[in-house]
């Protein structure tokens, strides 16, 4: 048999392709004249319609587009991995003239990227890297997650609740603790069993986690991950479910209790306007229930009238500032007192006893804070 020369074939193919490409190099260089819109991009860890975290951000993007009309041009990039793919995406956005980038997950923006594009304004959700052109934003979801935990506790008969969680990091640990503390308020002695998925968005893994929790005997499910897979599983075994990030009641109309949801739109609008006016300044924004950043999604059929009243009372206390879920006394899993009576945890200050540094789970949570 004659020996083929595949390398040559491929070479010819490429030369042909390059010739074609260079012949058409004049294409598409249409200029952008006539009051060019301000270009803003969003980068998501999952799909823009994930039914959770990324969807909430995308609703914020659409809000900005709607409010500012043709003065802005927005786009998004979905399913972007941290590291090289993020950097690559930023480079191509900058090349296309995007001036402002909302990176909606921690780990995306590094000092090196920020320094490489000093004229691009970066905003990163949930992180702590604040530089001249990187601002951070997030909010006290723990308050509303506490309230959603109250709904879960009230709906549980056995006091055994399951919670599907993403990464063993302070953000998720804080949310888990808030959920457990809320559940224990309406159901004294309730336990919250957790399973880590090591991913923000992994419908198959989340379903498996929910399944294993159900087999371990929980009668209510909650989550701190992005997809509604836990809810779909809960619906299939007819147990109540508390969602996260977005109103996902349509995925499990019978099981749906409520969820802590985000309203990113107003913050995005404010920041984009500032960027357009040249008054943008880096900073660390921590939204609250009062400025509409977080709220509780509409209740499903499984929330009792009593529970609704209890939640409403606590919500008012949080709004007035007289109550915060992370006020001592707080005990960890081993029963050790971590936060003294009357002491309120702060967002950034206090090391492992701060909201952003918390690496321990409260009493009643079953699972390891190390993953």
């Amino acid at each position: 048999m004659k020996r083929r020369k595949p390398a040559r074939a491929v070479l010819l193919l490429t030369v042909g392709a390059l010739a074609l490409v260079s012949a058409s190099a004049g294409w598409g260089r249409s200029n952008t004249s006539s009051a060019a819109p301000f270009k803003v991009a969003w980068i998501y860890v999952g799909p823009h319609n994930d039914g959770g975290w990324s969807q909430a951000h995308d609703e914020g993007r659409q809000y900005v587009q709607k409010m500012l009309g043709n003065k802005v041009q927005t786009t998004y990039k979905e399913n972007i991995a941290v590291g090289a793919q993020f950097n690559q995406t930023v480079a191509s956005l900058v090349a296309q003239g995007y001036k402002m980038i909302f990176a909606t997950s921690y780990g995306y923006v590094t000092k090196a990227v920020a320094a490489k594009y000093p004229n691009v304004l970066f905003e990163q959700a949930t992180g702590t890297l604040v530089t001249k052109n990187v601002a951070e934003y997030f909010g006290s979801a723990e308050d509303t997650i506490f309230l959603s935990g109250m709904a879960a506790g009230a709906a549980s008969k056995t006091g055994k609740i399951g919670f599907v969680v993403a990464y063993p990091i302070p953000e998720v640990i804080r949310h888990t603790n808030a959920f457990a503390l809320g559940a224990q308020l309406t159901h004294p002695g309730a336990t919250v069993r957790i399973v880590w998925t090591n991913s923000w968005f992994d419908p198959a893994g989340e379903k498996k986690a929910a399944q294993s929790l159900y087999q371990a005997g929980v009668d209510v499910l909650g989550q701190n991950v992005d997809s509604p897979a836990t809810g779909q599983f809960a619906e299939s075994v007819k147990i109540p479910w508390v969602g996260y990030d977005s109103d996902a009641s349509k995925f499990a109309p019978k099981s749906w209790l409520t969820a802590s949801v985000y309203n990113w739109g107003p913050y995005y609008l404010k920041r984009v306007k500032q960027a357009m006016a040249g008054t943008w300044k880096s900073g660390f924004y921590y939204g609250t229930i009062n400025d509409g950043f977080t709220k509780l999604a509409p209740y499903g059929p499984g929330v009792s009238a009593t529970a609704k009243t209890q939640i409403a009372v606590v919500e008012r206390l949080i709004e007035s500032g007289s109550f915060s879920p992370f006020t001592g006394p707080l005990y960890d899993q081993s029963g050790k007192l971590r936060v003294a009576s009357g002491v309120r945890m702060q967002v950034l200050k206090g090391g492992t006893n701060s909201l952003y540094g918390m690496n321990w789970l409260v009493k009643g949570v079953i699972g390891s804070p190390k993953g």
């Binding site: 399913n79 480079a91 090591n198």
Partner: protein, 386 residues
């Protein structure tokens, strides 16, 4: 035998040279035609979409720079797969071998760089450590195959998951040497410890398109391709490996030491994948990337298998195809957005790959419509690789 029109696929006795050019070109043209139907059906004008695709992959400012970032790891994993597949040793584990190379490469960079060694020495050590890490991981399925006849497809594939968990463990679930533990930021979200400046790999900047940085890894991949080509076309080792791939019995008669060959070829394959992992540290991430949403989400090792097949295991063709696929991936990233769903990008990429691979069939076989020719040998086994 029933009468009637039948369509049969027969092996070609000889393969005209023009086919090896016409078929790949035809496949790609066919793919663009099929993709055009999909684009039209979803309400997108095909021509501007393709223009955007080419622009984003190769033409617009900075595009080649970005394409090289996507292509470099693919070249390594493609070469790793090709090196093993040449001997019909189905190493599916380039993915895991790459993680291991990233771990050992980062360890060398952190340790030696931290002690203030000269940069060239630190980088050389990272290259060696990356190769060694991938090699050791590849030797596990190699030993199992050589001494216990265990199917290397399964063992090498499953070890990918093990390597992934190790990677996650090092950054997320332990306070390992690779993890950044200093400072408040490190406690908020786990990240790898940044490599010291002397452990960062240099790149050559070409001053076109606003500066294209050719990463050191891309150069090393090209070098690896050259060495692999020499190994398989100019040495006794490579010849024996191919004989062994074609027929183990013939090889044994000829005195080829089979076990030794299996170990050696897997070691070469794993070393190339491991080098790709070290390049991820030194060229791009500048730390060990243990995030399950980072390196592990990219699936470079699996794409490498497709690249090896498309390149027909020829090292230079593999590098070239890695470059083209890198462009496609980079373009896909640029193309997606509110008016162009990421899923559609994936569909187009899938159609192109599927057509290109499917076209291969037509080079080695012909489709006969009508009566069957009696004497032509039928394809019963896959043809030995070139």
């Amino acid at each position: 035998m029933r009468t009637g029109v039948r369509i049969s696929v027969e092996r070609r006795l000889s393969q005209p040279r023009w086919l090896t050019v016409a078929v790949p070109v035809g496949s790609v043209v066919f793919a663009f035609l099929v993709a055009a139907v999909v684009l039209l059906a979803t309400g997108h004008d095909p021509l501007p979409s393709y223009r955007l695709l080419f622009d984003a992959a190769f033409l617009q400012t900075g595009s080649l720079d970005q394409t090289l970032i996507a292509a470099t790891p693919l070249a390594f994993t493609g070469l790793a797969a090709a090196a093993a597949f040449r001997m019909k040793l189905w190493n599916i584990g380039a993915e895991g071998q790459m993680y291991m190379g990233a771990i050992t490469g980062a360890a060398a960079g952190l340790y030696l760089g931290g002690r203030g060694g000269p940069s060239a020495f630190v980088i050389a050590a990272m290259v060696v450590a990356g190769c060694a890490g991938g090699m050791v991981w590849a030797l596990i399925p190699a030993i199992l195959r050589a001494f216990f006849k265990t199917n290397e497809i399964l063992t090498s594939l499953l070890l990918n998951y093990v390597a992934g968990y190790v990677l996650t463990y090092l950054i997320f679930e332990s306070e390992s040497y690779w993890r950044q533990t200093k400072g408040f930021n490190a406690s908020v979200f786990p990240t790898g410890k940044p490599l010291p400046p002397s452990a960062l790999w240099p790149g050559w900047t070409i001053h076109v398109q606003g500066g294209i940085v050719v990463p050191l890894g891309a150069g090393l991949a090209l070098l690896a391709a050259g060495l692999l080509w020499l190994l398989y076309s100019r040495t006794r080792f490579g010849f024996e490996a191919q004989v062994l791939g074609d027929s183990e019995r013939a090889a044994r008669y000829a005195g080829v030491r089979v076990r030794r060959k299996i170990l050696a070829v897997m070691a070469v394959s794993g070393a190339i994948a491991g080098l790709g992992g070290a390049s991820q540290d030194g060229d791009f991430n500048h730390a060990l990337d243990g995030d399950p949403n980072g390196l592990q989400k990219r699936g470079y090792g699996y794409t490498g298998i497709v690249i090896a097949a498309l390149g027909r295991y020829n090292p230079f063709a593999v590098v070239l195809i890695a470059f083209l696929l890198g462009g496609l991936e980079n373009a896909g990233n640029t193309l997606q957005g509110p008016s162009f769903p990421a899923g559609l990008v994936g569909v187009i990429q899938g159609i192109i790959l599927f057509s290109a691979l499917g076209g291969e069939l037509l080079i080695r076989h012909r489709v006969r419509i009508g009566r069957r020719a009696g004497t032509v040998a039928r394809a019963t086994t896959p043809e030995p690789a070139a």
